[in-house]
Amino acid sequence: MTFDDYQLDDDVFDEMFLSDGTPRDHSRALHELLCQLSPQELATIQERVTRSFSNEGITFTVYGDDEAEERIIPIDSVPRILSNAEWQTIEAGLTQRIKALNHFLEDVYGESRSKELYGEPAIVHDGVIPVDMVRGCPQYRVAMQGFSAPYGTWVAICGTDIVRTQDGFAVLEDNLRVPSGVSYMLANREAVKKSFRRLYRMSRVREIEDYGQVLQTTLRELAPHSQTDPTIVLLTPGVYNSAFYEHIFLAREIGAELVEGRDLLVNNGYVYMRTTAGLRRVDVVYRRVDDDFIDPLAFRPDSLLGVPGLLHAYKLGNVSLVNAPGTGVADDKSTYAYVPDMIRYYLHEEPILANVETYLCRRPEDLEYTLDNLQDLVVKRVGESGGYGMIIGPHATPEEREEYAQQVRADPAGFIAQPVLALSRAPCFIDGRFESRHVDLRPFVLHGRETRIVPGAFCRVALRRGSLVVNSSQGGGGKDIWVVEA
């Protein structure tokens, strides 16, 4: 196969090629192999990868009007390759970022000298972040006020979305609540490496298969009372959750019971699960249920997914909750804009990974800029995720932009704007030929008493030609990422 018709543009970074069309050093071996394959051979590989997903039931659920449908995430079999040096930058940047975010959460919720003296977090008192960004944030949880997370770890598991432009890597979003996608990272690797056996071996790809073990170590580190053999459970909202496959997968990987709220109960301040031999004490809950639904006594009283009294048991120190409730205040789309300042404030370091330039419509000057330049910006609702509630200015009609502008004017604090990024592109095998598609990556950061990151990520691909939306609920697909030693 050839790359003769492959699209390269000067203003878009291509993951495989330099701007003159020669392959980058670390992609040369892959490029050579792809050129030797026939379209039929690559189609067979693609089909095998897809079939392995369907046979093993690696699915996510999409909810339509009438019924839920199990779908597989379309996987492109051509891996995206990162050099080890590129990875080290990402790793250092993410490590720095999660430390700062945990400091921020401890500052926001925990007891401190600043709170005692001034009644507000130090970072607010020192004028780095306005107070309404914290207390006014819809994700701020009053119930967590005055609580200090064990070992200062509020966020133990984080999935950070990173994009690359001609200017380098930048963080698009921190997912600090219940990030998902890690099972696809592992399943993609499993399927893709079998299809490129020789290349995989020769490329000295860094392993990610020990993710389960690293996750287990992280969860064990957070067990209460320094227990050496804690009972860990993974709390799922249940089979109807779109990420249910991932919950099963992870429970298996870490050897934990996969529980639903109805399997747990709190008795005398301790958490127990209902087993066939009676109640058994639980030490660590890796919860994949959102804050609002985790405990009907503390948050939404109508929740059927949660465990009454769970938060109380957590605050007594009798069980660990991973991630802690209330972490959403740090990954809100508005708070995001302040993460570089948090890094400077708490760690006295310059951020290694840049942020995407962000206009907070709550600031009058930013609002004005946003409304004047809507045709060039991406505007997002702060409370939404998954590619919902956003508008990509250049792709919208004047009527759509006007309608959206009215919503922004009505509630400026509910919106942020960012420039339309020229996300990097990577070759994908589509309709029998190579086409370039926009990609991002979501590495997974684990932070117990120390930070660990397996060298890999879930690479999301905007499979529709020209599309910039990589979310799986919006027609996005996935790719394997290889971090190569060479």
Binding site: S54, N55, E56, G57, V239, F244, I248, A251, R252, E257, L258, V259, E260, R262, D263, L265, V266, N267, N268, G269, Y270, M273, R274, T275, T276, A277, G278, L279, G309, H312, A313, L316
Partner: protein, 322 residues
Amino acid sequence: MLSRSAQSLYWMGRYLERAQHQSRLLQLQTAALVDRPVQEIYFGWSRIYISSDRLPPGGFLELTDSDEFTLADSFTLADDLTFERSNPGSIWNCFAMARENARQTRNCISLEMWSHLNLVYLRLQGRDIQDIWSTSPETFYAGLTSDVDTFMGVAGATMYRDEGWHFLQLGRAVEKGQLLLAYLLAQLAAEARHDESTEEDWVSLLRTYHAVEVYDRNYSLDVQPNHVLDLLVSDPLLPYSLCQTLDTIGEQLDAIGRGPHAAISGSMRRLAGRLASVIHYEWPDVTDREDVLRKLAGFSRDLHDLITQTYFDYEVEIAVAT
């Protein structure tokens, strides 16, 4: 093990057993369409519907002499029992429910078990009655029964012998017992409804449980209803007999151990013992066999309830921390 996981495995066993039983019945019934008399075919359909406690689409079956009508009816009935989504006992639903339970407990079963069951389910998605009827329906049904056998073989080879395994086997055995009892009672009820039954109706009953040759060997070539019942109920060596099934239930309960509440657990064990003792000690002497079968059917439903109360849905007293 987590109660809900145990319950899912138990139900997975039940649904797979149900799917296999239904497939076996339809395999024999569709094979009969080739050359058996119309009366026998209607008797067969009647027996299946009575045993599953369901009314055929269009109401009670009426015997017709026309081969044309018999085949058309059979097409509709087979569709209802195989693919009908609104029939909770259809083969399609049994496999879907077994798979759903497997999906919820994938961390308790082997990857091989899940992959096999998922493949069976995915294959079934692409089929409909038209398509199986135009070729060989009995081959299709035979394929499904052997799919369940293969699944159990894969489970036997790959599943860790922990409590989950025992709940899976327990579910299968409880379902097997209930299905056999329902089918024997349906045979007697169909006989009453049709005013008679032929020797061939009883032979087909034996065939359902792979027992024709054993019967010939143990009794004679002359098929007597009482002997058929003896074989299917009390033979200790026949894999599908009630006696074997109850022995399996006893073994699985022993392996699982007591639940948290001694009193309920005790009732459950006593009931399982009582069922077995009826077969071992009372059965040979009873005169009204239908009545005993009905009593056993009631006991086996109670046993299911007690298993649920012992291991899955027990009561807990909660204290609030201060």
